[in-house]
């Protein structure tokens, strides 16, 4: 019974940790996509290249959020 309580507490802290870690990449991805949309609006001919670079940027910032997600399950 005590073990269960301790496990729940640790899981609670891990969840708060993950939540705090997801703020950064969330803002980051928003900035990337916002700038990509602006770039595509300014010069529609470059839309393909902008889209590719946007996906790359999203992949890099999302990696940080996913490391947090995996660590949540490790704890």
């Amino acid at each position: 019974m005590e073990e269960l309580a301790a496990e729940v507490v640790v899981n609670g802290y891990a969840l708060i940790g993950y939540g705090a870690a997801a703020i950064g990449p969330g803002v980051g991805i928003g900035i990337i996509v916002g700038n990509a949309v602006q770039a595509m609006a300014r010069q529609p001919e470059a839309a393909g290249m902008v889209r590719t670079t946007m996906f790359l940027g999203i992949a890099f910032t999302e990696a940080i959020a996913l490391i947090g997600f995996v660590l949540f399950f490790l704890v």
């Binding site: 269960l4 590719t52 996906f55 790359l56 999203i58 992949a59 996913l66 490391i67 997600f69 995996v70």
Partner: protein, 270 residues
């Protein structure tokens, strides 16, 4: 998981503790070869490889000028990998990498789509083995490409980019070393792995919770729980659609990043 829930004793205890989340990912072995157990996962991996080979073979067998339906689908996939990923990212010398990039793109795509395939709802990329192996192959590939292109000074140019002020060398060296030689393969594997694990976990929990709330084991059914069950189930279906997008996107991103890493080895001046 539904079997485990049905064995939960509702009248005995108030709380039925759910079993470990491992149960969703680790399956019981069907038979043993020596010490290793062969389970459903192994068969699914072989099945995915078989599907990729059959699909590409069927599409490219008769190269008629006016393409049939399968041929045009396969042609569009190959064109996507060749033009948008290999040629436009790697540029010159990208031709040599198209077979590898096509293979990993198709394999990861089929493996991811197993998550949303009706009878197979288990993505083979949700166990760390496949993403880790493919990421390590990409790692070796871009290191070897860099060494062949630039010789021995590949590593010194990697860690200390030419034109760097001498005073910054230690700090930038450490950062570049960690960023290129450690973070790249690990993040490539973990990105694919964690996306698929999250998707599988969400789908399993949402859909099974919806089912469980609606049926409630038939013992003491509480009608008030049924709307909750329906809500969970509908949300699960929405995530199902999202999972299809995530599967294709993650396959595309893995292949794109592999191409980008190869490009930075082949053309370091960018």
């Amino acid at each position: 998981m539904i079997v485990a829930a049905e064995s939960c004793d509702i009248e005995g205890g108030i709380v039925c503790t759910p079993s470990n989340v491992n149960e969703l990912f680790v399956f019981k072995p069907i038979f043993y070869i020596g010490e290793t157990g062969i389970s459903r996962t192994h068969f699914l991996i072989l099945f995915a490889a078989f599907l990729v080979v059959v699909f590409l073979f069927a599409g490219l067998r008769k190269k008629s000028v006016v393409p049939s339906k399968i041929q045009s689908v396969v042609e569009s996939l190959v064109t996507l990998v060749r033009e948008d990923i290999a040629m436009s990212v790697i540029g010159k010398g990208g031709e040599a990498y198209v077979p590898y990039l096509l293979s990993i793109f198709m394999f990861i795509l089929v493996g991811n789509l197993f998550e949303v395939a009706p009878l197979i709802n288990f993505p083979i990329t949700s166990r760390i083995a496949i993403p880790l192996l493919l990421s390590l192959i990409t790692y070796v590939l871009f290191l070897v490409a860099g060494i062949r292109k630039q010789g021995k000074e590949y590593f010194t140019h990697l860690i200390w980019p030419p034109g760097l002020p001498v005073a910054l060398k230690p700090l930038v060296g450490l950062i570049e070393f960690a960023s290129t030689l450690i973070v790249r393969p690990v993040s490539l594997a973990v990105r694919l792995f964690a996306n698929l694990v999250a998707g599988h976990l969400m789908l399993s929990l949402l859909l099974v919770s919806g089912y469980f709330f609606i049926y409630q084991n038939g013992v003491w059914p509480v009608p008030g729980k049924i709307p909750i069950g329906v809500a969970w189930y509908v949300f699960g279906l929405a995530i199902y659609g999202f999972e299809i997008v995530v599967s294709v996107l993650q396959a595309y991103i893995f292949t794109l990043l592999s191409a980008v890493y190869i490009q930075t080895s082949l053309h370091p001046e960018h």
